[in-house]
Amino acid sequence: MPSARRGVRAASGEGADPMDKEPASVRPVFPKSINFFRPVIGIALAAVPLYIVMLVYYGNSAEATRVGYEPDQPVAFSHALHAGRLGIDCRYCHTTVESASHAAIPPTETCMNCHANIRAASAKILPVRESHATGMPIEWVRVHDLPDFVYFDHSAHVRRGVGCISCHGRVDKMETVRQEKPLTMGWCLDCHRAPEAHLRPPELATKMDWVPNEDPFVLGKRLRDENHVNPSTDCTTCHR
Protein backbone atom coordinates (compact mmCIF):
# COMPACT_ATOMS: atom_id res chain seq x y z
CA MET A 1 0.00 0.00 0.00
CA PRO A 2 2.64 2.61 0.90
CA SER A 3 4.30 1.94 -2.47
CA ALA A 4 1.08 3.18 -4.09
CA ARG A 5 2.05 6.58 -2.87
CA ARG A 6 5.27 6.69 -4.84
CA GLY A 7 5.80 8.73 -8.01
CA VAL A 8 4.49 11.99 -9.41
CA ARG A 9 1.72 10.46 -11.40
CA ALA A 10 0.17 8.88 -8.40
CA ALA A 11 0.49 12.04 -6.39
CA SER A 12 -1.06 14.32 -8.95
CA GLY A 13 -3.53 11.57 -9.71
CA GLU A 14 -4.90 12.08 -6.20
CA GLY A 15 -6.39 15.24 -7.52
CA ALA A 16 -5.60 16.59 -4.08
CA ASP A 17 -4.73 19.92 -5.58
CA PRO A 18 -6.31 21.43 -8.64
CA MET A 19 -3.16 23.30 -9.47
CA ASP A 20 -2.00 20.87 -12.12
CA LYS A 21 -4.81 21.86 -14.38
CA GLU A 22 -3.89 25.53 -14.24
CA PRO A 23 -1.14 27.41 -16.17
CA ALA A 24 2.41 26.61 -15.11
CA SER A 25 3.36 30.00 -13.72
CA VAL A 26 1.94 32.23 -10.97
CA ARG A 27 2.51 35.81 -9.88
CA PRO A 28 4.87 35.88 -6.88
CA VAL A 29 3.64 37.51 -3.67
CA PHE A 30 6.11 40.36 -3.96
CA PRO A 31 7.40 42.11 -7.07
CA LYS A 32 11.01 41.65 -8.04
CA SER A 33 11.74 45.28 -7.14
CA ILE A 34 11.34 44.56 -3.45
CA ASN A 35 14.73 42.93 -3.29
CA PHE A 36 16.40 46.21 -4.17
CA PHE A 37 14.77 47.82 -1.12
CA ARG A 38 16.15 45.26 1.29
CA PRO A 39 19.10 47.40 2.35
CA VAL A 40 16.83 50.40 2.86
CA ILE A 41 14.48 48.36 5.02
CA GLY A 42 17.44 46.96 6.92
CA ILE A 43 18.88 50.37 7.64
CA ALA A 44 15.50 51.70 8.69
CA LEU A 45 15.02 48.84 11.11
CA ALA A 46 18.34 49.67 12.73
CA ALA A 47 18.09 53.45 12.60
CA VAL A 48 14.56 54.15 13.83
CA PRO A 49 15.03 52.68 17.31
CA LEU A 50 18.36 54.41 17.53
CA TYR A 51 16.73 57.72 16.67
CA ILE A 52 14.05 57.23 19.31
CA VAL A 53 16.63 56.41 21.95
CA MET A 54 18.62 59.48 21.04
CA LEU A 55 15.49 61.60 21.05
CA VAL A 56 14.58 60.49 24.55
CA TYR A 57 18.15 60.80 25.77
CA TYR A 58 18.71 64.31 24.51
CA GLY A 59 15.15 65.21 25.34
CA ASN A 60 15.86 64.46 28.98
CA SER A 61 19.29 66.00 29.00
CA ALA A 62 19.58 69.35 30.67
CA GLU A 63 21.44 70.72 27.69
CA ALA A 64 18.23 70.42 25.73
CA THR A 65 15.75 71.41 28.41
CA ARG A 66 17.42 73.98 30.67
CA VAL A 67 20.66 75.50 29.54
CA GLY A 68 20.14 78.84 27.92
CA TYR A 69 16.90 79.51 29.76
CA GLU A 70 16.58 83.29 29.86
CA PRO A 71 13.12 84.47 30.92
CA ASP A 72 12.03 88.11 30.82
CA GLN A 73 12.12 89.73 34.25
CA PRO A 74 9.60 92.22 35.61
CA VAL A 75 12.37 94.78 35.98
CA ALA A 76 14.93 95.40 33.27
CA PHE A 77 17.74 94.90 35.77
CA SER A 78 21.10 94.47 34.11
CA HIS A 79 23.74 92.47 35.95
CA ALA A 80 26.07 93.45 33.13
CA LEU A 81 25.72 97.07 34.24
CA HIS A 82 25.69 96.64 38.01
CA ALA A 83 28.04 93.71 38.55
CA GLY A 84 30.01 94.30 35.38
CA ARG A 85 30.58 97.92 34.51
CA LEU A 86 29.89 99.35 37.97
CA GLY A 87 31.67 96.41 39.57
CA ILE A 88 29.31 96.07 42.52
CA ASP A 89 30.17 92.95 44.49
CA CYS A 90 27.60 90.13 44.40
CA ARG A 91 27.35 90.20 48.17
CA TYR A 92 26.17 93.79 48.20
CA CYS A 93 22.73 92.57 47.14
CA HIS A 94 22.86 88.82 47.78
CA THR A 95 23.73 89.44 51.40
CA THR A 96 23.16 86.01 52.90
CA VAL A 97 25.19 84.07 50.36
CA GLU A 98 28.06 83.47 52.76
CA SER A 99 26.00 82.74 55.86
CA ALA A 100 22.88 80.90 54.71
CA SER A 101 21.68 78.30 52.29
CA HIS A 102 19.76 80.82 50.21
CA ALA A 103 21.59 83.66 48.50
CA ALA A 104 18.64 85.88 49.22
CA ILE A 105 17.17 87.87 46.34
CA PRO A 106 17.50 91.41 47.67
CA PRO A 107 14.44 93.23 49.01
CA THR A 108 13.29 96.33 47.11
CA GLU A 109 14.89 98.44 49.82
CA THR A 110 18.33 97.37 48.66
CA CYS A 111 17.64 98.77 45.20
CA MET A 112 16.35 101.98 46.66
CA ASN A 113 19.46 102.47 48.76
CA CYS A 114 21.07 103.81 45.60
CA HIS A 115 18.14 104.51 43.36
CA ALA A 116 16.55 106.82 45.84
CA ASN A 117 18.79 109.47 44.30
CA ILE A 118 20.56 107.80 41.35
CA ARG A 119 18.36 107.83 38.26
CA ALA A 120 15.42 108.10 40.59
CA ALA A 121 13.30 109.33 37.73
CA SER A 122 14.19 106.63 35.23
CA ALA A 123 11.19 104.80 33.82
CA LYS A 124 13.15 101.57 33.97
CA ILE A 125 13.02 101.45 37.77
CA LEU A 126 9.39 102.49 37.99
CA PRO A 127 8.28 99.04 39.17
CA VAL A 128 10.97 99.17 41.86
CA ARG A 129 9.74 102.52 43.14
CA GLU A 130 6.18 101.23 43.08
CA SER A 131 7.13 98.15 45.04
CA HIS A 132 8.98 100.26 47.56
CA ALA A 133 6.03 102.57 47.96
CA THR A 134 3.27 99.96 48.07
CA GLY A 135 5.23 97.23 49.85
CA MET A 136 4.07 94.85 47.15
CA PRO A 137 6.97 92.60 46.17
CA ILE A 138 8.58 92.38 42.76
CA GLU A 139 7.89 88.95 41.30
CA TRP A 140 11.16 87.84 39.76
CA VAL A 141 11.21 84.77 37.57
CA ARG A 142 13.37 81.98 38.95
CA VAL A 143 16.18 81.09 36.57
CA HIS A 144 18.31 78.58 38.46
CA ASP A 145 15.68 76.10 39.61
CA LEU A 146 16.80 72.92 41.33
CA PRO A 147 14.28 70.13 41.94
CA ASP A 148 12.45 70.49 45.25
CA PHE A 149 14.13 67.44 46.78
CA VAL A 150 17.60 68.91 46.33
CA TYR A 151 19.11 70.81 49.27
CA PHE A 152 21.80 73.19 48.10
CA ASP A 153 23.63 75.47 50.52
CA HIS A 154 25.31 78.59 49.13
CA SER A 155 27.38 79.27 52.22
CA ALA A 156 28.90 75.80 52.15
CA HIS A 157 30.17 76.40 48.63
CA VAL A 158 31.17 80.06 48.71
CA ARG A 159 33.06 79.66 51.98
CA ARG A 160 35.14 76.88 50.41
CA GLY A 161 36.07 79.10 47.51
CA VAL A 162 33.78 77.81 44.79
CA GLY A 163 33.36 80.87 42.62
CA CYS A 164 29.92 82.16 41.68
CA ILE A 165 30.74 81.69 38.02
CA SER A 166 31.23 77.96 38.49
CA CYS A 167 27.45 77.54 38.62
CA HIS A 168 26.09 80.85 37.36
CA GLY A 169 28.55 81.71 34.62
CA ARG A 170 29.68 85.24 33.84
CA VAL A 171 26.64 86.97 35.28
CA ASP A 172 28.54 90.22 35.01
CA LYS A 173 28.26 89.90 31.26
CA MET A 174 24.54 89.13 31.17
CA GLU A 175 21.98 91.81 30.48
CA THR A 176 19.29 89.42 31.72
CA VAL A 177 20.30 86.40 33.75
CA ARG A 178 20.56 83.18 31.80
CA GLN A 179 21.18 79.60 32.92
CA GLU A 180 24.64 78.67 31.72
CA LYS A 181 25.20 75.31 33.39
CA PRO A 182 23.00 72.21 33.24
CA LEU A 183 22.66 71.99 37.05
CA THR A 184 22.02 68.27 36.77
CA MET A 185 23.03 65.70 39.35
CA GLY A 186 25.69 64.36 37.05
CA TRP A 187 27.09 67.84 36.64
CA CYS A 188 27.13 68.44 40.40
CA LEU A 189 28.89 65.11 40.91
CA ASP A 190 31.60 65.97 38.43
CA CYS A 191 32.68 68.85 40.64
CA HIS A 192 32.12 67.05 43.93
CA ARG A 193 34.42 64.30 42.69
CA ALA A 194 37.12 66.61 41.34
CA PRO A 195 36.63 70.13 42.68
CA GLU A 196 40.14 71.37 41.96
CA ALA A 197 39.29 73.07 38.70
CA HIS A 198 36.63 75.20 40.40
CA LEU A 199 38.47 76.24 43.56
CA ARG A 200 39.82 79.72 44.19
CA PRO A 201 40.84 81.62 47.29
CA PRO A 202 37.55 81.95 49.21
CA GLU A 203 37.80 85.74 49.43
CA LEU A 204 37.79 85.84 45.62
CA ALA A 205 34.72 83.64 45.29
CA THR A 206 32.56 86.49 44.04
CA LYS A 207 35.14 87.92 41.70
CA MET A 208 33.75 87.31 38.24
CA ASP A 209 36.76 88.12 36.09
CA TRP A 210 39.37 86.44 38.29
CA VAL A 211 41.77 84.11 36.53
CA PRO A 212 44.46 82.14 38.36
CA ASN A 213 48.00 83.21 37.48
CA GLU A 214 49.12 79.57 37.60
CA ASP A 215 47.85 76.22 36.48
CA PRO A 216 44.34 76.11 37.98
CA PHE A 217 44.77 72.43 38.85
CA VAL A 218 47.95 73.04 40.80
CA LEU A 219 46.32 75.96 42.59
CA GLY A 220 43.15 74.00 43.12
CA LYS A 221 45.09 71.12 44.61
CA ARG A 222 46.81 73.48 47.05
CA LEU A 223 43.63 75.32 48.00
CA ARG A 224 41.88 72.01 48.52
CA ASP A 225 44.45 71.00 51.10
CA GLU A 226 44.57 74.43 52.71
CA ASN A 227 40.81 74.79 53.11
CA HIS A 228 40.08 71.10 53.74
CA VAL A 229 37.69 70.87 50.82
CA ASN A 230 36.51 67.27 50.70
CA PRO A 231 33.13 67.40 49.00
CA SER A 232 31.04 64.34 49.73
CA THR A 233 29.18 62.27 47.16
CA ASP A 234 26.90 60.75 49.80
CA CYS A 235 23.26 60.91 48.77
CA THR A 236 22.38 62.63 52.04
CA THR A 237 24.62 65.56 51.20
CA CYS A 238 21.91 66.89 48.90
CA HIS A 239 18.85 64.69 49.46
CA ARG A 240 17.14 64.54 52.86
Binding site: R6, V8, M19, E22, A24, S25, V26, R27, V29, K32
Partner: protein, 185 residues
Protein backbone atom coordinates in the same frame (compact mmCIF):
# COMPACT_ATOMS: atom_id res chain seq x y z
CA UNK B 1 22.22 37.66 -14.33
CA UNK B 2 23.45 36.65 -17.74
CA UNK B 3 21.05 36.87 -20.65
CA UNK B 4 22.86 33.93 -22.26
CA UNK B 5 19.90 31.54 -22.14
CA UNK B 6 16.28 32.18 -22.80
CA UNK B 7 13.13 30.18 -22.46
CA UNK B 8 11.15 28.82 -25.33
CA UNK B 9 9.22 32.07 -25.53
CA UNK B 10 12.35 34.15 -25.37
CA UNK B 11 12.31 35.28 -21.79
CA UNK B 12 15.61 35.21 -19.92
CA UNK B 13 16.04 31.83 -18.28
CA UNK B 14 16.54 31.43 -14.53
CA UNK B 15 17.14 27.75 -14.65
CA UNK B 16 15.59 24.34 -14.68
CA UNK B 17 13.38 22.89 -11.97
CA UNK B 18 12.90 19.17 -11.44
CA UNK B 19 10.11 17.90 -9.18
CA UNK B 20 10.31 14.67 -7.20
CA UNK B 21 7.66 12.83 -5.29
CA UNK B 22 9.70 11.40 -2.47
CA UNK B 23 12.92 11.58 -0.56
CA UNK B 24 14.62 8.60 -2.12
CA UNK B 25 14.26 9.98 -5.65
CA UNK B 26 15.46 13.37 -4.50
CA UNK B 27 18.54 12.01 -2.81
CA UNK B 28 19.50 9.94 -5.80
CA UNK B 29 18.94 12.93 -8.08
CA UNK B 30 20.99 15.20 -5.87
CA UNK B 31 23.89 12.78 -5.85
CA UNK B 32 23.81 12.62 -9.66
CA UNK B 33 23.69 16.40 -10.06
CA UNK B 34 26.49 16.78 -7.55
CA UNK B 35 28.61 14.24 -9.42
CA UNK B 36 27.87 16.06 -12.69
CA UNK B 37 29.86 18.93 -11.16
CA UNK B 38 27.19 21.61 -10.96
CA UNK B 39 27.75 24.38 -8.41
CA UNK B 40 24.88 26.89 -8.74
CA UNK B 41 22.07 24.51 -7.86
CA UNK B 42 19.90 23.68 -4.89
CA UNK B 43 17.33 21.27 -3.55
CA UNK B 44 14.01 22.36 -2.12
CA UNK B 45 12.12 20.30 0.46
CA UNK B 46 9.14 20.91 2.76
CA UNK B 47 11.19 19.69 5.71
CA UNK B 48 14.88 19.11 6.40
CA UNK B 49 15.83 15.85 4.69
CA UNK B 50 18.63 14.05 6.45
CA UNK B 51 21.42 12.83 4.24
CA UNK B 52 20.63 15.41 1.61
CA UNK B 53 23.53 17.58 2.76
CA UNK B 54 25.99 14.81 1.91
CA UNK B 55 24.12 14.05 -1.25
CA UNK B 56 24.56 17.67 -2.34
CA UNK B 57 28.04 17.93 -0.87
CA UNK B 58 27.27 21.02 1.28
CA UNK B 59 30.18 22.25 3.36
CA UNK B 60 29.60 22.70 7.09
CA UNK B 61 28.33 26.17 8.09
CA UNK B 62 30.42 28.64 10.11
CA UNK B 63 27.42 29.75 12.13
CA UNK B 64 28.62 28.03 15.30
CA UNK B 65 31.82 30.09 15.42
CA UNK B 66 29.88 33.31 15.05
CA UNK B 67 27.57 32.34 17.92
CA UNK B 68 30.50 31.38 20.09
CA UNK B 69 32.19 34.69 19.43
CA UNK B 70 29.02 36.57 20.26
CA UNK B 71 28.69 34.61 23.50
CA UNK B 72 32.23 35.45 24.54
CA UNK B 73 31.62 39.08 23.72
CA UNK B 74 28.44 38.90 25.83
CA UNK B 75 30.42 37.63 28.82
CA UNK B 76 32.79 40.53 28.71
CA UNK B 77 30.09 43.04 27.93
CA UNK B 78 28.01 41.83 30.89
CA UNK B 79 30.92 41.80 33.27
CA UNK B 80 32.32 45.09 32.02
CA UNK B 81 28.97 46.80 32.36
CA UNK B 82 28.54 45.74 35.96
CA UNK B 83 32.11 46.42 36.96
CA UNK B 84 32.22 49.86 35.38
CA UNK B 85 28.85 51.09 36.62
CA UNK B 86 28.98 49.76 40.19
CA UNK B 87 32.70 49.90 40.87
CA UNK B 88 34.25 52.60 38.75
CA UNK B 89 31.70 55.21 37.83
CA UNK B 90 29.65 55.44 41.05
CA UNK B 91 30.64 53.06 43.82
CA UNK B 92 28.10 52.99 46.64
CA UNK B 93 28.39 51.25 50.00
CA UNK B 94 25.69 48.58 49.91
CA UNK B 95 25.15 46.19 52.80
CA UNK B 96 28.84 46.48 53.65
CA UNK B 97 29.65 44.45 50.55
CA UNK B 98 32.73 45.02 48.37
CA UNK B 99 32.29 47.29 45.37
CA UNK B 100 33.09 44.41 43.05
CA UNK B 101 32.43 40.76 43.82
CA UNK B 102 32.08 38.26 41.02
CA UNK B 103 29.38 36.07 42.60
CA UNK B 104 26.84 38.87 42.63
CA UNK B 105 27.61 39.60 38.98
CA UNK B 106 27.29 36.12 37.57
CA UNK B 107 23.53 36.00 36.92
CA UNK B 108 23.49 39.15 34.81
CA UNK B 109 26.72 38.19 33.10
CA UNK B 110 25.17 34.85 32.11
CA UNK B 111 21.96 36.37 30.82
CA UNK B 112 23.80 38.90 28.71
CA UNK B 113 25.93 36.12 27.27
CA UNK B 114 22.91 34.08 26.27
CA UNK B 115 21.18 37.12 24.85
CA UNK B 116 24.08 38.01 22.58
CA UNK B 117 24.65 34.43 21.47
CA UNK B 118 20.99 33.81 20.71
CA UNK B 119 20.67 37.04 18.77
CA UNK B 120 23.77 36.09 16.80
CA UNK B 121 22.33 32.66 16.02
CA UNK B 122 19.15 34.12 14.59
CA UNK B 123 20.60 37.09 12.75
CA UNK B 124 23.54 35.00 11.54
CA UNK B 125 21.21 32.37 10.13
CA UNK B 126 19.28 34.98 8.19
CA UNK B 127 22.42 36.70 6.97
CA UNK B 128 24.14 33.51 5.82
CA UNK B 129 20.92 32.39 4.14
CA UNK B 130 20.57 35.76 2.44
CA UNK B 131 17.16 36.17 4.03
CA UNK B 132 14.81 37.90 3.95
CA UNK B 133 14.56 37.55 0.21
CA UNK B 134 10.92 38.22 -0.53
CA UNK B 135 11.24 37.79 -4.27
CA UNK B 136 12.77 34.79 -5.95
CA UNK B 137 12.36 33.54 -9.52
CA UNK B 138 11.27 30.11 -8.31
CA UNK B 139 8.18 31.72 -6.80
CA UNK B 140 6.92 32.02 -10.35
CA UNK B 141 6.54 28.29 -10.75
CA UNK B 142 3.12 26.93 -9.81
CA UNK B 143 4.50 23.49 -9.08
CA UNK B 144 7.04 25.04 -6.78
CA UNK B 145 4.20 26.09 -4.46
CA UNK B 146 4.26 22.50 -3.23
CA UNK B 147 7.90 22.79 -2.21
CA UNK B 148 6.60 23.81 1.20
CA UNK B 149 3.98 21.09 1.21
CA UNK B 150 4.67 17.63 -0.10
CA UNK B 151 6.98 17.85 -3.09
CA UNK B 152 10.76 17.84 -3.49
CA UNK B 153 12.66 19.88 -6.08
CA UNK B 154 16.09 20.31 -7.57
CA UNK B 155 16.83 23.63 -9.28
CA UNK B 156 19.86 24.25 -11.44
CA UNK B 157 20.52 27.90 -12.26
CA UNK B 158 21.30 29.10 -15.74
CA UNK B 159 24.31 31.04 -14.46
CA UNK B 160 26.02 27.80 -13.54
CA UNK B 161 29.12 27.56 -15.82
CA UNK B 162 28.30 23.96 -16.67
CA UNK B 163 24.67 24.87 -17.49
CA UNK B 164 23.44 24.00 -20.94
CA UNK B 165 19.70 23.91 -21.57
CA UNK B 166 19.64 20.70 -23.48
CA UNK B 167 22.31 18.79 -21.58
CA UNK B 168 21.06 19.82 -18.19
CA UNK B 169 17.44 19.04 -19.05
CA UNK B 170 18.58 15.66 -20.25
CA UNK B 171 20.40 15.04 -17.01
CA UNK B 172 17.39 16.01 -14.92
CA UNK B 173 14.93 13.99 -16.99
CA UNK B 174 17.17 10.99 -16.58
CA UNK B 175 16.56 11.14 -12.85
CA UNK B 176 13.96 8.76 -11.39
CA UNK B 177 10.45 10.19 -11.20
CA UNK B 178 11.49 13.75 -12.08
CA UNK B 179 9.16 16.22 -13.79
CA UNK B 180 11.22 19.03 -15.32
CA UNK B 181 10.21 22.56 -16.23
CA UNK B 182 11.89 25.82 -17.16
CA UNK B 183 11.74 28.77 -14.82
CA UNK B 184 12.19 32.18 -16.32
CA UNK B 185 14.22 34.94 -14.74
Amino acid sequence: MNGKWTTADGAPLFGLLAEFADVDALIEGAEKVRDAGYTKWDAHTPFPVHGLDDAMGIRHTKLSYLVFAAGVFGVFAGLGLQWWTNTVDYSLILSGKPFFALPANIPVLFEVMVLFAAAAAFVGMLAFNNLPLWYHSLFKSRRFLRATNDRFFISIEARDPKFDPRATRALLESLRGAAVEEVEE
